[in-house]
Symmetry: C2
Subunit: 233 residues, 2 copies
DNA sequence: GCTCGATTGGTTGCATACAATCGAGCTCAG
DNA sequence: CTGAGCTCGATTGTATGCAACCAATCGAGC
């Protein structure tokens, strides 16, 4: 980490994405500065950056607050993301995979296959899968060679709080299905089945989104007091 | 404009989008501060914001530079944008238009129709069309009711330098075609033809992208000296 | 008792001073 | 002549003090 500003930005981003702050929480500059042992300047830089990334909301003369997402927002994001991941798969299928990327995907799928043998869905397994899932999608994005698409997808995948709950609700059945999706997308791509690759990828993300929205709704309605308090604070 | 920071951000954004700086130009903080008669603080805030928006590139201890786009980058951006505009049209067709939005679109199309009667393609006509075009697309985006999609499309449409050349190369034939596209997209949406609306919108944007890339290539190769100098600076 | 307005505590906005860093250009050894 | 190392100037990174602003609280008048 070169500058304090960047360091603080990353720490804060992680905290927000990890769900350390409830949606609507106002972020006080001096408190953050004290907590991270830097002056307000790098804090302000970080907040500004995160706001531009869509993780925080900014109000002039009032400061920054963690953006809160309703289930409807998540739905909107997933519609977009599904479309973009579909586009990504289509592009990769069109232009073919490089040996490097094919190798990476193959490795991910092999490890995923192995993960099917565990008996139950523990937090450890959850973390492993999260890593594999990220690698699969990130490799695909990289293989598309479209940096703008990469940026858009990164933004569509960075949602406060979501990291926290992601995959905790998985079970072995869901895992099997997700792994199977990945395998089929990979097969469609290597087979040059352009349209199929797009449909599969889009559907894969869309379905995963539906599950997440479901759980988001539960989380949303479970603690209305906290949400209200945070919004008012 | 509430704060100087926001004011400066807007001014700088306009300048960058308007093509006041060549791609690769380094932006000196003190120069900008002098030029805009503020201190470095709001300048730095603005630069940070614009970097997060993808208009500038940041290098620690080196500062901000106007991002330079090769024709290939523009192509990548337009592939994404075409997809997203297609999605947008599909969503609007699915959920139907409110009376307000229908009215706005109708008005835009009427004015566009009128614009067909001018004899030749002047700068004034160009500005009028730019406004109409923006209104058409922005209304559609708003009608989709998906704020995340709106953000993505905003980012996909904000490209340094592009504002400068956009529509200068239009002629009456291109205008007629673009207007016809808009009309048909509108018809497909009001008729509930979901798939057709998506295809038409995607194709409309894609075609417009092809024309722009063409002209971008000309611009790019015309002045390699400037580009090199700017990149080196 | 209620409403409206002044006051004040707290927070953000901005300017400025100083420290850290980078790179261009120079020097000098080989 | 070439290249490695160094110095210095220019530019960015950070801290801090003060000004501006907002919102909540309290008090006075109706």
């Amino acid at each position: 980490m070169a500058t304090r500003g960047l360091s603080v930005t990353n720490k804060l981003r992680e905290a927000v994405l990890g769900g350390d702050y409830a949606g609507g929480t106002r972020l006080n500059e001096v408190d953050l500065a004290d907590a991270l042992a830097v002056s307000r300047t790098p804090i302000r830089a970080a907040l500004s950056t995160l706001a531009a990334e869509g993780l925080l909301e900014y109000r002039p003369n009032s400061g920054y607050a963690v953006k809160s997402f309703a289930a409807k927002d998540i739905e909107g994001i997933y519609v977009v993301r599904a479309n973009l991941e579909g586009l990504c798969a289509r592009l990769v299928a069109q232009q073919g995979l490089s040996d490097v990327h094919r190798g990476l995907l193959h490795k991910v799928l092999a490890e995923s296959e192995e993960l099917q043998n565990v008996e139950s869905w523990t937090d450890e397994v959850s973390d492993l899968w999260r890593d594999l899932n990220d690698r699969f999608h990130n490799t695909l994005i990289e293989a598309s060679g479209n940096s703008h698409l990469a940026m858009m997808l990164r933004k569509s995948r960075a949602i406060p709080l979501l990291n926290q709950l992601k995959f905790r609700w998985f079970d072995m059945g869901t895992l099997a299905r997700a792994h199977d999706d990945h395998s089929q997308i990979f097969a469609a791509i290597t087979g040059g089945q352009v349209v199929r690759a797009e449909s599969l990828a889009e559907e894969h993300v869309y379905r995963s989104g539906q599950r997440i929205i479901e759980h988001w709704r539960k989380m949303d309605t479970r603690k209305p007091a906290v949400a209200t308090k945070a919004r008012a604070a």
